[in-house]
């Protein structure tokens, strides 16, 4: 979706201001909100692509006015209601008024090991890779209403395959489903001038990881 999250190349946000000796969390609610998002994620009620899309669907004015943990919290509440795990009335009351759904909490025991586990988004390939390093490709022009990992600032632009990353779960199809629909993933290099015209500096390059359905031969 062409949502407020797709920020690459936007103007007017001002300088980057880094906080000296920044703490990991700035308030206790950030700790708890972060942990709630993680805990629900580990129940398997949804996966990371569905979770990202829930955050992207925060209305644009709210998204831009919110801190990142506020966006996470908004996304979590959206998913809980959409998956019929709680009702909006229950969220408002902070109290359960209906029987729980069949969802088991992730126990504290064994969690440290789970967080350190070596998982992978790579899947067996169903077909050979269409492109090879050095091939010129164009990012397709598309404006899907659903989740996509193809940012607006490269759509229609031509780049070069820099590397093949493997065959990976395809978020655009996986979001909201259990269909991993794996596709070849490529590191694609775009010259700054091809993306930004006179504002792009010669020699500078932007690299994105894009899936085969995002690309066509150029």
């Amino acid at each position: 979706m062409n949502g407020p999250h797709d920020l690459g190349g936007a103007h007017g946000f001002g300088p980057v201001i880094a906080e000296e000796n920044e703490p990991v969390f700035h308030a206790n609610w950030e700790r708890r909100a972060f942990a709630l998002v993680m805990a629900l994620g580990y129940t398997g009620a949804w996966h990371i692509d569905t979770s990202r899309h829930a955050r992207e669907r925060t209305p644009p004015a709210d998204y831009l006015a919110s801190s990142y943990y506020e966006i996470w919290f908004a996304g979590l509440k959206r998913l809980l209601v959409e998956h019929a795990l709680v009702t909006q009335a229950e969220i408002d009351a902070g109290k359960s008024s209906s029987p729980p759904a069949a969802l088991t909490a992730v126990p504290a025991e064994g969690l440290v090991e789970k967080l350190r586990a070596k998982n992978s988004y790579e899947r067996p390939a169903l077909a050979p890779a269409r492109f090879k390093a050095g091939d010129r490709v164009r990012a397709k022009v598309m404006n899907p209403y659903g989740h996509t990992r193809l940012p607006r600032y490269v759509r229609g632009r031509t780049g070069t395959i820099a590397a093949i990353r493997g065959c990976h779960v395809f978020p655009d199809a996986h979001c909201g489903t259990e269909n991993e629909d794996p596709h070849w993933l490529y590191s694609v290099a775009f010259a700054a001038g091809d993306l930004w015209g006179p504002q792009g500096r010669a020699g500078d390059e932007i690299r994105l990881d894009l899936w085969e359905p995002h690309l066509e031969p150029a």
Partner: protein
């Protein structure tokens, strides 16, 4: 403004607590598990992990080669595998090329080696400008590169996670890996900063 900020945060405190109570009552979360998530990312997993990887790469040419060829395995060998570090790529800064990492679409960041991202990494100014005006962003961080250095920006659009290998500063040739790690800042591994010189580290 200050009192407004204060009441605003309190409001979030109340809302998050209410949701935690509801989800606990439903049996969807184990409060003890929440504490494990928080403790892991507040006190255990952070940029000192990444600094040890970089120090090893500076001191050990064989490890550096492995890190560049297969970062996931090379990092796992130091016991830093885990969530948001499933597919690692290490990119090396040189005189000719400076690397910088961003996630324009959300906040993808190599948690396993750097911990949770700082606020600026997740906020619109950085996500908007890193890909279009990387030199302007570096200026915000007080960094100026030589005219002849090209910039390569990595937008983390998939589950590949990037770790920048900063250039090794001069004056630390005979240092141990433990001391070298002190020169490796979080920002130098994102590409918005450079590694500290021994003089900077001492001050």
């Amino acid at each position: 403004m200050a009192s407004h900020d204060h009441s605003y945060l309190s409001d979030m405190e109340v809302r998050v607590r209410a949701l935690e109570t509801l989800l606990t009552e439903k049996g969807y979360v184990d409060p003890a598990a929440l504490d494990v998530f928080i403790d892991t990312y507040e006190t255990k997993v952070g940029p000192r992990n990444g600094a040890r990887v970089i120090a090893r790469a500076w001191a050990d040419a064989k490890y550096r080669k492995w890190l560049i060829e297969d970062a996931t395995a090379a990092i796992a060998s130091l016991d830093f595998a885990g969530r948001q570090g499933e597919h690692m790529v290490a990119v090396e800064n040189t005189r000719d090329t400076h690397n910088m990492v961003v996630c324009t679409l959300c906040s993808c960041y190599p948690w396993a080696v750097l911990g949770l991202p700082p606020v600026w990494y997740k906020a619109p100014p950085y996500r908007a400008r890193a890909v279009a005006d990387p030199r302007g962003v570096l200026a915000d961080f007080g960094v100026t590169l030589p005219e002849t250095t090209a910039i390569r920006v990595w937008d983390s659009t998939a589950e590949m996670r990037y770790l920048v290998i900063p250039m090794r500063p001069a004056g630390a040739e005979d240092w141990s890996q433990e001391r070298l790690a002190e020169l490796v800042t979080r920002d130098s591994m994102i590409g918005t900063g450079l590694a500290l010189s021994p003089t900077e580290a001492a001050s």
